[in-house]
């Protein structure tokens, strides 16, 4: 008989794998990616290809050069690339997209030790990096190519004057017929992805719900205008950020109650920035700020173990 394997218990494990989870996220992003391409045209596809390509390539080369185990197979680099792309305008210069992707992967992820070791969300940080370096790529948004819209401003920029005049209709907002980044405009596609992620058990439904709910309720309290509050929910990167970026495992608290506090904090900061800050959009900043607070929230929300003495 051949030699028996001797190893520590348990001797069986679930079928769920990290690669499968990442694949599920990619699948959940698919409707949004398709909608973005339909709405903004082939240019959007190029942005996605460049971001994903450079993300995967830079992680591959980093591992090769530093002689680390190759990790591109876990698909997390592809996820980061795609989320980053969906955060950019379809007419973003491709070289800027590439720079953002390399920054997200190398500086934010690999230099901290790779998957699971980064404290900030690479895609969020990549987006903010591009926004600061090349103001045009993120701020504002390219107009959909499938319809003619009069204004070139995004809804949030219009709303900065606390008015809903000149905004696309709410149904148009749901479909994504408005200015904005590739992935953030089509609410229906994002919600489809949300449903898939919850169905697959990849994320808990609370995080996006609390994030979005907080923004809605606080907007309502501040403006006492139901329509305006609804516009706040559907505009900017709120839906996309709440579903795909505030639910990132690595950079959010590990406890379920911690995740809820995290989501609430994101909503609060988003509203503060939108109503009182100088930037029209607050989702990325709020997520980044909460990423930094995440370890502390995790500590506060640690469960009391059964039989644990103080």
């Amino acid at each position: 008989m051949n030699k028996l394997v001797v190893s520590s218990s348990p001797h069986i494990r679930t079928d769920s794998t990290t690669r499968r989870i990442m694949l599920d996220v990619l699948i959940a992003l698919l409707p949004t990616a398709v909608a973005g391409t339909v709405i903004f045209g082939i240019k959007a596809l190029w942005v996605m290809l460049v971001c994903v390509g450079f993300s995967v390539l830079s992680e591959f080369l980093f591992n090769l050069i530093t002689k680390h185990t190759q990790t591109v197979g876990d698909l997390s680099a592809a996820v980061t690339g795609l989320i980053l792309a969906l955060n950019l305008r379809a007419d973003a210069p491709l070289w800027q997209c590439a720079v953002g992707a390399v920054f997200a992967i190398i500086v934010v992820k690999c230099l901290f030790g790779g998957l699971g070791c980064n404290f900030a969300n690479p895609a969020v940080t990549g987006r903010i990096f591009i926004m600061i370096c090349f103001a045009t790529t993120v701020g504002g948004g390219m107009m959909p190519t499938v319809v003619d819209l009069a204004s070139s401003a995004t809804p949030l920029e219009i709303m900065k004057g606390d008015t809903v005049n000149g905004l696309p209709s709410l149904p148009d907002m749901m479909l994504g017929l408005r200015g904005g980044a590739i992935g953030e405009v089509c609410a229906i596609a994002i919600l489809l992805g949300f449903a898939y992620l919850v169905y697959r058990g990849v994320i808990h439904f609370e995080t996006p719900l609390i994030f979005i709910g907080t923004v809605f309720v606080l907007s309502l309290i501040i403006s006492s205008d139901l329509t305006l509050s609804l516009y706040h929910v559907f505009s900017g990167g709120l839906l996309f950020g709440a579903v795909f970026m505030a639910t990132d495992y690595v950079t959010t608290p590990i406890t379920r109650s911690g995740k809820m506090i995290f989501a609430f904090g994101c909503g609060l900061i988003t509203v503060l920035i939108r109503f009182f800050g100088t930037y029209p959009e607050g989702v990325s900043f709020s997520i980044l700020l909460m990423n930094i607070l995440s370890p502390y929230i995790e500590k506060w929300t640690a469960k009391k173990p059964l039989g644990g003495k103080k």
Binding site: M1, N2, L4, V5, V6, S7, S8, S9, P10, H11, I12, R13, T14, S16, T17, T18, R19, R20, I21, T71, D74, S76, G113, G114, L115, G116, C117, Y249, V250, T251, T252, I254, T255, R256, K259, A302, K303, K304, P305, L306, G307, G308, K309
Partner: protein, 439 residues
């Protein structure tokens, strides 16, 4: 009683052998009887090479308070007494007996006469019984707590939460009369208010049968537990049946509970009737490498290989063979190892299942945190173990409550990145022990 129940991990049940009668295997040619088949001090051999022994002849005497005697499981001659290294690395002696194939019982065997609690505990001690659910803790030692009059609740563990294993299921269905007798005997010596029998709800037949035999006994409650792992873990079982919490470093008796495996209880009843000590075990033989999964009754000390061959051998090359179930069982180096008192299953896994899952970095998904029935955060232990400074490491491990980990395996089971969490926890515990010993 609606209460929030702990233990939520869904492991596969694979109870293929449930409802199949156990088959007794013929006398093996030899049996190997390790002197340490329990938690505590190993027994000391009381026989010499060449001595004639019978089924039930004492071959090892208990040493000290936490220990247990060992009896011959066949009739024949003592062939040798050799050093023995158990599969978990402990060394002791083993008595090897060559069987004459007759299985003649020791003529001196007679039912014990018991009237007092002391006599009862003494009889339990002499029966050689230990926790048959797998723990292997000498049962008599647990009963000692009753001398101080602190036991208020007797909890009978019929959860059988490990995949594959059905030997307790058999006890509860086929030997239900003995379970009843055992519980009644316990209740007569122990002044407990109540006995709770905890059974996972995936065994409705066991629940029905237990409810039937205890019908009309107001002091016995059969509690259906969720069929999620690890219902049978002592602390979880106590919480889920009584709401009581055993605190860190404490014993069930601290909260007035006595936990006994259902097969242990049935065995005690049989012993009191016949006087035959613990010499054979009902064992579930299953796993993806086993051709005919079944339950067998085999003399203690029979080799794993012999038992597997009796059931019809392998379906596929075994790559990993376990004492016990796949969640907490111990992998053996060779199938020459004997089955022991606390062995309740032999699980042989094929190449495909034994192959380690691909490891990734921890992705901080929180599945292990949600899965831990105790409410620990296993990622903290893994992180603490990376700290170089030994005293800081110790502080971090203590703060994260490593001492509470029951090594149930839930965290490792659910981890999508296949992190070796339980393994790390074992290393961490050993690390902490070493450092405390140095001080």
């Amino acid at each position: 009683m609606p209460r929030f129940m702990l233990g939520t991990t869904r492991v596969p049940h694979r109870k293929n052998t449930a409802g199949i009668q156990a088959v007794r295997i013929p006398a093996p040619a030899t049996v190997t009887l390790p002197m340490s088949q329990h938690i505590g001090a190993p027994a000391e051999p009381t026989v010499k090479v060449g001595d004639a022994v019978y089924v039930g002849t004492k071959v090892g005497e208990a040493q000290g308070f936490v220990s247990s005697p060992v009896y011959s499981s066949v009739s024949g001659k003592v062939k040798k007494i050799e050093p023995y290294l158990s599969s978990n690395g402990r060394s002791c002696h083993a008595v090897v007996i060559e069987s004459d194939g007759q299985m003649t019982p020791d003529p001196s065997i007679a039912p014990p006469v018991i009237t007092t609690l002391d006599e009862f505990i003494c009889a339990v001690r002499e029966s050689g019984v230990v926790g048959l659910g797998g723990a292997g803790f000498p049962t008599a030692v647990k009963l000692e707590a009753e001398k101080k009059g602190i036991i208020k609740k007797i909890i009978i563990n019929g959860a059988e939460c490990e995949p594959y294993i059905t030997s307790d299921t058999l006890t509860m269905t086929v030997d239900s009369a003995y379970v009843k007798k055992g519980v009644e005997t316990l209740m007569s010596f122990i002044s407990a208010d109540e006995t709770v029998i905890g059974i996972e709800s995936n065994k409705p037949r066991c629940i029905d049968e237990m409810r039937r035999v205890f019908e009309g006994n107001g002091k016995v409650r059969v509690e259906a537990l969720p069929s999620t792992y690890p219902q049978g873990a002592e602390k979880i079982l106590i919480y889920n049946t009584t709401g009581r919490v055993v605190s860190e470093g404490g014993l069930p008796s601290d909260v007035g509970c006595l936990v006994m495996n259902v097969t242990t209880v049935a065995f005690i009843a049989k012993y009191l009737e016949t006087g035959m000590p613990l010499v054979e075990k009902c064992i579930t033989v299953d796993g993806s490498a086993i051709k005919n999964p079944m339950n067998v009754i085999a003399p203690i000390g029979t080799s794993i290989e012999e038992i597997i061959q009796f059931t019809g051998g392998y379906r596929a090359d075994p790559a990993k063979v376990l004492y016990g179930g796949p969640m907490m069982g111990v992998a053996v180096y060779s199938t020459d190892y004997p089955i022991m008192k606390n062995t309740n299953a032999i699980v042989a896994l094929s190449e495909k299942e034994a192959k380690p899952k691909e490891q990734h970095n921890c992705i901080h998904c929180g599945r292990c945190v949600s899965a831990c029935p105790i409410g620990l955060n296993p990622t903290l232990f893994a992180r603490a173990m990376k700290v170089g400074d030994s005293s800081e490491r110790a502080d971090r491990l203590t703060e994260a409550k490593i001492g509470l980990c029951i090594e149930c395996g839930c965290c490792s089971f659910v981890c999508p990145s296949a992190r070796p969490l339980v393994e790390t926890n074992r290393l961490a515990k050993a690390d902490l022990r070493n450092q405390q010993a140095k001080k």
